[in-house]
Structure formats: structure tokens, C-alpha cells
Amino acid sequence: MKTPKKTAAAKKETAPKKKKAEKLLLTLYVAGETPKSLRALENLERLCEEHLKDGYEIEVIDLSKNPALAKKHEIVALPTLVRQLPHPIRKIIGDLSNVERTLVGLQVNTLSN
């Protein structure tokens, strides 16, 4: 899986911002193109499109190609979505099929509010 960095800058910031908008940095860890990982990526992309208004960045890391990163990034379960920024780090595991929970897990502002 070689989906490159997919930057989707938000079109316009409508909501009044309290502080400087922090860029959302998301990393999805997968191992090979398994149905589960494909599903997770699919779900993530859709979710970002639909709900995230702030700038976000998605990075996909295939651990089967880069096994050393598993230790470095403390990955146990796959797929794992890690919110690297803003701090603190949040982890969401699973295929992200539950949008609601994923958003709660990411603790991000959504378009709906």
C-alpha cells in the first residue's frame, strides 16, 4: 500500500478560531493490503472528507515493510490510527467502521458543530 501523503487543506475556515488552528496529523498503521486495512483507510478518508474542516494530513505506514517502526511507535493492534498532532497522542484501533467513536477518539472539531 503506497498511498502517499494526502493533504486536503480545508477550503475556508468559517468558524471563529480561538487560537491558531492546529494541523491534524494522522498516521494509519497497517500491515499489508488486507481487507481490514483497506477498509480502515477507506473509512478514514471518507470520515476526513465529511467531518474534518481543519487542515489534516494522513500518513499510512505499512509495518510489514517497515517492521522497526512497530516498536518505535508502540503499535500492538492493527489497524491503528494515531493522532500525532495535536498533542497528546491518541490511538484508535480497529477498522474505523464506527464514525461516531472515531471522531470521539480523535477529539477534533467537526463540521457539524
Binding site: 500491515a31 477498509r39 473509512n43 510489514s64 516498536k71 489497524p79 490511538k91 477498522d95 467502521s97 472515531t102
Partner: protein, 578 residues
């Protein structure tokens, strides 16, 4: 592994391939180690040494068998882990730098993780696989895998993943140790024993009468025989040591060399001393001189330039040294020289198993040729009679196997003098009994050799004297008045001497009497002889007189005849007739 050989002749008796753990004693009870290339479950309650066992398995594997290892810590961070085992002399950093060890801390915090939808533990597999591949690990430890259950919610996924993990480990061909917390009534809280079915080791930390003992048991070991008992184990500054009972037997070598007890007369009673490597029991009532005698045995060993270990459970070393000085025995030079080592602890300070393990350790470290344990009766304080018994049997066997002369001191209560509370008598080769002999308002010490296997020992009771000059053994007085000791013996001896004096005087008198009698008789004989002489003289005189008279008469007659002119012839005839 007794299989019928007829039908399965092709199935030769094949022992399971095993990986030695390198842990002292564990390989003995598992008869070679844990199953090679398979996972082994180590379970036990908190604080019983699971992590340590697992870590030692890895470190020994690296240092002793050159088998690199991977440690996956689910509970402690690698830094904490490194610090915890540093006290055992394990330098994890160094081993990691040598690419022999990988320590990975798997951190799972439920509050930081949101679960949505399906997932698996492939991340863990990749991590583990990568660690194994980078250092070509042969050994893997997963320390408290169950922590996963705390970090992740979906138990169904976890269970299926664990099952996959174990078969994956087997495929990888690594020998793994998986630790697990003990659950209520089950071996592990999460039922991990279900997945790991080859070898299960249970660790236990039990407190009995305020003393704790660590024990280990092989719950199951598929496809091989193993020790089934509970084995005590010890964690100290050198790591784990398990004391296997099975390694002891009666196949030890024996020596014909006699060694001195330090008391020459006792050596004589024992027909030349005790055998090297034998076990000696000194039993006796309170204050009968047991410790003094054992100190002499220790000093004798030191004098022979041998090392001696003195385990004192009643007195401090300083006190023993002071007390022994009072009987002219200075142990201090030996202590300073290092040949004599005192270990003083209270028996209830540790459990029995711990004591045994400690003695093992001290013996291994000090390498003595003589061990004194003063007294063993105190071990009863640290456990039940049966436990104390079992422990002493093992101790005796251990010391015998090492060829160490063992001196056990035991206190007997007044009534049962020829019985040890510990029932040790059958294990003992030489039994020297010290006893109080109460007689005539005083107590004296008696010593005798109750048994001495393989020696023509004395069967007599001797008096055992402790004085400022040292130990002295005296013959007791045996006479018509019975066996006498102490001042009664001295009195009796004086009396005997007096009697003899009187007797000799009497005979002297008799001799003199006879002498004088003889003299008197001799005087008498002289007197009688004199009398006889006188008589003889007188008789002779009379006879002479008669003869003169006769001659006179004859001459007179002759003269008369001549004057009368008588017939001479007739007269001649008459005188001839006469």
C-alpha cells in the same frame, strides 16, 4: 516413557528436545529444561518471581548457551526492568548493545485507546517477529501477556489472537516463556493454560507461621517425565536457585579417612576418630557441653587447614568465641584467617526451605570440609516436625553428596535421651551422646558413643569434663557401688585408696608378726639345742665317769686279785661277756 516396543519398533524411545534454562536446579527437575521451540507457561501470584525467572532464562541463555533472546515486557518499562535485575548482576544494556538481547516494553493504556470495529494483534506479531529476526533470537519471553486483557476490550479478538500467537511462536521455532498471573482457583486469570499446553510451571509464595517460602512445581510437562514435587526455590543476589530433591540419592562416595574430633580421648573411644564425609550427631540435654564439643570439632578441622562452616542458631559468633575461650579454645584466629566462617541467624528468620537454600549457598561459597549446625532442634521452630524432618534428610544427603563432614547438634529433653525429636538417628553415622548424670546432689556430664557405623567404638560411658584447660574425658568409677562421677567418683576413688592403704598395713603387720614368730621359734630352737648340748655333755661326762669308775674298779679288782692271788682267767671271761 515406557512404550511397548513390539508394535512400535520404528518409534524409538525419543526424548523431547529440550532447551536448558541455565537456572540452577530447574534443569534438574525438568530433566533438561523447557521444551525446545515451544512455549512454556510460568504462572504464579504477584511477587513470586515470574519476571525474574523469565529474565534469568534469557540472560543465562545468552551467557551460557549463546542463544539470543527477546524480552517483551507488558508491565514494566525496559528501564525499570533493567534496574530490577541489575541487583542480580544482569547487565541488560550491555547485552542489548551486543545484539544478544532485545527488550521491548509493550505499553497499552485503555484510556488512551479507542476501539472501533475489527482489529487484530498483527502489530505485536510484527514487532516480535522483527525483534526475533534482527538478533536471530532463540528464546522469547512474554512477561504477563494477560496485561493485554487490561488494555484491550474485545476479548473475543484477544483470545483468537493469542491462540494465533502461540502457534506462530511454535512456527518460529523459538523457545518461549510466557508468564501469567495466577487466578482464583485457576492457574491463570485468563485461562492461558488453555493455549500453552506443553509445559506449565507454577510458582508459589506461601507464608506459613509468618515465614515465607517460595516453591515451584511443574504442573504439566507433556511428553516427558519430570519431578512432580514442590521444590523450594530461592531468589538472591545470584538469581534463581531451585533445590531439587531428586538430585540427591545414596550414591555418594565414601572415605575411609578418619579425622580427629579435637578431643584425643574421644578419638580413642571412636577407634581413631570419625570418618571424613560422615554425619555426626551430638545430642544431649541442656548444658551438657554440646556446643563446646562441636567447637572442638570445628577447631580440629581448622587445625588441619580445612575450611569449616559453623551455623549457629542460638548464639552470636562473638558469644561463641568468648564462651569457648573459657575452655581454653580460641577460635578467633581461624575466623580472622577465614578458614572458619560463622553464620548466625535465628531459625524463625526464614522458612525451612529458605534455610536449606541458604545452607546450600553458604556451602557452595565457602567450600567447607566440615559443617557444624548448632542446633538442628531449633528448626522445629521454623516449621512442623514433618517439614523439619524432610529438610534435615535433604540436608544430610546434600552434605554427604558433597563429601562434607556434618556435625549436627541437637537438644534432647530429659526423658527421651536416645531419641531425637527429628527422627534423624537413621541418617546419622556417628552418634555421640552427652548426658547429665545426676548423682549425690550434683550433675555431671557423661559422654558415650551410641553408635558409630563402621568403627569398633567404645561401649563405655566416660565422664566429660569441661575446665579452663579444655575438654577432658575421664573414666568413670565403676565398682560395687555402681557408676560414679564427679566428686562422688573422686570420693570413691579416695575411699578405695584408703581401703587399699588399710589392707596393705594389715598385711604388713601380719608379715611382721610372722617374722617375730619365726624369730621366737628360732630362739627356742637355739635354746633347745643348747639344752641338748648340755644334756649331751652331761651324759658324756657321766659315761666317762662310769668308764673311769669301771677302770678303777677293774684295776682295783686286779690289784685285789693280785693281792689275793685269784684266778685271772675266770675273771677275764666274765668281763668279756659283759
Amino acid at each position: 516413557m515406557a512404550r511397548p516396543q513390539r508394535k512400535f519398533s520404528t518409534l524409538k524411545k525419543q526424548e523431547l528436545a529440550k532447551t536448558p534454562t541455565g537456572i540452577e536446579g530447574l534443569d534438574e527437575i525438568t530433566k533438561g529444561g523447557v521444551p525446545k521451540g515451544r512455549p512454556t507457561l510460568v504462572c504464579g501470584s504477584a511477587g513470586c518471581g515470574k519476571t525474574l525467572l523469565a529474565m534469568e532464562f534469557l540472560v543465562r541463555g545468552i551467557t551460557m548457551y549463546n542463544e539470543p533472546g527477546v524480552f517483551f515486557a507488558f508491565e514494566e518499562s525496559s528501564k525499570e526492568l533493567g534496574e530490577n535485575v541489575k541487583s542480580l548482576g544482569f547487565d541488560l544494556k550491555k547485552l542489548e548493545a551486543q545484539k544478544k538481547l532485545v527488550v521491548d516494553h509493550v505499553h497499552l493504556e485503555r484510556s488512551e485507546i479507542e476501539e472501533t470495529g475489527e482489529y487484530d494483534l498483527e502489530g505485536l506479531f510484527i514487532r516480535l517477529g522483527y525483534a526475533i529476526d534482527t538478533i536471530k533470537a532463540k528464546r522469547v519471553v512474554l512477561d504477563t501477556l494477560e496485561t493485554l486483557f487490561g488494555g484491550l476490550k474485545n476479548e473475543a479478538i484477544l483470545r483468537s489472537e493469542l491462540r494465533r500467537l502461540f502457534s506462530w511462536l511454535k512456527e518460529k521455532g523459538v523457545t518461549a516463556i510466557i508468564t501469567a498471573e495466577r487466578g482464583e482457583g485457576t492457574l491463570t486469570r485468563q485461562g492461558l493454560e488453555e493455549y500453552v499446553s506443553d509445559c506449565v510451571i507454577l510458582l508459589d509464595h506461601r507464608v506459613n507461621e509468618q515465614t515465607s517460602t517460595r516453591r515451584m512445581r511443574i504442573v504439566k510437562y507433556r511428553g516427558t517425565s519430570h519431578g512432580t514435587n514442590e521444590y523450594p526455590f530461592l531468589i538472591d543476589e545470584e538469581g534463581f536457585s531451585v533445590i531439587p530433591i531428586t538430585s540427591m540419592g545414596l550414591a555418594h562416595k565414601v572415605s575411609t579417612e578418619r579425622i580427629s574430633t579435637g578431643v584425643p580421648r574421644l578419638d580413642a573411644m571412636l577407634d581413631g576418630g570419625i570418618y571424613r564425609g560422615s554425619s555426626v550427631l551430638l545430642s544431649g540435654t541442656a548444658g551438657s557441653g554440646k556446643s563446646s564439643l562441636s567447637a572442638h570439632l570445628a577447631a580440629a578441622a581448622c587445625q588441619r587447614n580445612e575450611r569449616c562452616l559453623y551455623l549457629a542458631f542460638e548464639e552470636s559468633p562473638a558469644q561463641i568465641i568468648r564462651n569457648m575461650r573459657s575452655i581454653n579454645l580460641d577460635l578467633e584466629p581461624w575466623v580472622k584467617k577465614g578458614t572458619l566462617q560463622f553464620i548466625s541467624t535465628r531459625p524463625y528468620f526464614y522458612g525451612l526451605e529458605m534455610h536449606l537454600a541458604m545452607i546450600h549457598k553458604y556451602v557452595k561459597d565457602h567450600k567447607p570440609s566440615l559443617v557444624v549446625i548448632d542446633p538442628i532442634s531449633n528448626f522445629l521452630d521454623a516449621g512442623t516436625l514433618a517439614e523439619a524432618n524432610a529438610m534435615l534428610v535433604r540436608l544430610v544427603d546434600f552434605l554427604k553428596a558433597e563429601g562434607i563432614t556434618a556435625v549436627f547438634v541437637t537438644l534432647t529433653s530429659g526423658a527421651a535421651k536416645e531419641q531425637t525429636d527429628e527422627g534423624l538417628s537413621s541418617l546419622i553415622d556417628t552418634w555421640i551422646l552427652l548426658r547429665d548424670i545426676e548423682l549425690g546432689g550434683e550433675r555431671n556430664r557423661g559422654i558415650y558413643v551410641l553408635k558409630a557405623r563402621g568403627t569398633a567404638h567404645s561401649n563405655q560411658i566416660r565422664e566429660f569434663l569441661l575446665s579452663s584447660k579444655g575438654i577432658d574425658i575421664q573414666d568413670v568409677y565403676i565398682g560395687p557401688e555402681g557408676v560414679l562421677t564427679g566428686s562422688m567418683r573422686i570420693a570413691q576413688e579416695a575411699k578405695t585408696r584408703q581401703n587399699q592403704e588399710v589392707k596393705s598395713q594389715e598385711s604388713e603387720r601380719k608379715r611382721r608378726e610372722l617374722d617375730s614368730k619365726r624369730k621366737i621359734l628360732e630362739a627356742r630352737i637355739l635354746a633347745l639345742e643348747a639344752e641338748f648340748e648340755t644334756d649331751a655333755h652331761e651324759t658324756q661326762a657321766l659315761l666317762d665317769n662310769d668308764r673311769v669308775n669301771e677302770e678303777l674298779r677293774v684295776s682295783n679288782e686286779k690289784e685285789m686279785r693280785t693281792s689275793r692271788k685269784g684266778d685271772i682267767v675266770n675273771n677275764k671271761k666274765r668281763s668279756a661277756k659283759k
